[in-house]
Amino acid sequence: MRDTTSDLPISLDTVTVRCGAVSILHDVTLEIAGGPPTVLLGPNGSGKSTLIKLGMRLISPSAGHITFGGRSSPGPTRSAIVFQKPIMLRRTAAANIAFALSAAGREPDAATISHLLSQVGLAALADRPARRLSGGEQQRLALARALARAPEVLFLDEPTASLDPAATKGVEDIIARTACEGVKIVMATHDLGQAKRLAGDVVFLAGGRVVERGASPQFFMSPSTDAARRFLAGDLVL
């Protein structure tokens, strides 16, 4: 039976993540609720991917705590993630989807697999070994695999970082469509153009801290912090 409890809002209360002596996130307090896509924006090493992994509970905070829909346990049950470099299972595209459906407790029937592949424009490549797909096709297959979980929240960790513009557009179209269907998108990127195209609201991170948060037009038109202004101007923000 599918879990119907909600993972939203995701609330982080003074969360710190350390890796040995190095602090990756410091005292982050943040709430992610339903609605348009939330984009985590910031330079490399600002803590975006760590925040995404916390949201999926792939890692635990060193200090502070996180709740999902008001509960701290169990972790997210209706969330899915697409990594920057997703790992394709050594089987066909269709079999990758079938595996994700089974893992999510759904029936891996041919109609559902076909529907998911069609959603990401890979229906014609169903029988091709997943590892022989191009980078953009693999990323779309990873999206279909994530959608196989019928997620309430979809985390995307720089999903187009290594793609060319055409492949990037293909992935962004799927993200926008998924968001329109009511799935909460939480996406990490350092691509300003992509953030402008997709974001409903922006969380700007630098040095492991949330520096600024605001609705997308407001953030891009009139950022309230110096760090965000410099980042938007193309300066190096460390």
Partner: protein, 240 residues
């Protein structure tokens, strides 16, 4: 003069050997059949024991795991005569399993070959599964894949490598002589296999049979390796 005779002798032996194979000599093919039966049985047993053991060592953290990994790796190079000796002592009348009466039977030879190749199968399986798990871990955690489904998926996705491992084990067992001659006794018509017959017939000077069996053994080993290579090529092309 002697060199010419020796060369003629070699040509004669090779011709006799081919004639022996071509004629379908019953004695020769009985030896081949027994060799294949013993080696296949040992390979199946090594797969049944070694693959789960290797997967367990790859995926489960427990006290003594590293020692197990070191032992498995070390035992890949077990000297066959030592394995033969240990199995002999276990199965001999005074040994702990002497009452089973297995010494100098094909079963004893299967046991010895199984002991010899199980560490190879287990150690290589552990390495393959561990490498694949390192690759899949984060995706599987994100997909919340359960432990059983995880093991099934890893074994399935590693299937071509695992087949190659089994073929390597088969090749090692098929070419083995030291252990099976100790526990089998090389009894004519009962426990005589290709490798032990080659050793015996060479010492007796019956080179036609020795060369004939040698040709078959080499053909078998080459075929097995060609099969392993083909499996890998096919998997690269079709399953990536």
């Amino acid at each position: 003069m002697n060199a010419v005779n020796a060369r003629d002798g070699c040509q004669l032996n090779a011709t006799d050997a081919v004639q022996l194979i071509w004629s379908g000599d019953a004695n020769l093919f009985a030896i081949v059949r027994l060799s294949l039966a013993v080696t296949l049985a040992a390979t199946v047993l090594a797969a049944v024991v070694g693959m789960p053991l290797g997967a367990f060592a790859a995926l489960v953290r427990f006290p003594g795991r590293e020692l197990l990994v070191v032992v498995l790796n070390a035992f890949m190079g077990l000297p066959p005569v030592v394995v033969g000796l240990v199995v002999f002592l276990m199965l001999s009348r005074a040994g702990p399993l002497g009452e089973l009466g297995l010494l100098f039977t094909p079963t004893a030879m299967v046991v010895a070959q199984t002991v010899l190749i199980t560490p190879i199968v287990a150690a290589l399986t552990r390495q393959v599964i561990e490498d694949l798990w390192a690759e899949y871990r984060e995706e599987f955690q994100a997909m919340q894949v359960g432990p059983l489904a995880r093991v099934r998926a890893l074994l399935w996705d590693a299937r071509f490598s695992l087949v190659t491992i089994l073929l390597a084990g088969f090749g090692r067992a098929a070419a083995e002589v030291g252990a099976v001659i100790i526990v089998g006794g090389n009894i004519d018509g009962f426990t005589r296999v290709m490798t032990t017959t080659i050793a015996l017939e060479t010492s007796k000077g019956n080179l036609a049979l020795a060369v004939g069996l040698g040709l078959i053994l080499i053909t078998l080993v080459v075929t097995v390796n060609a099969l392993a290579w083909s499996v890998r090529r096919w998997s690269e092309k079709h399953a990536a």
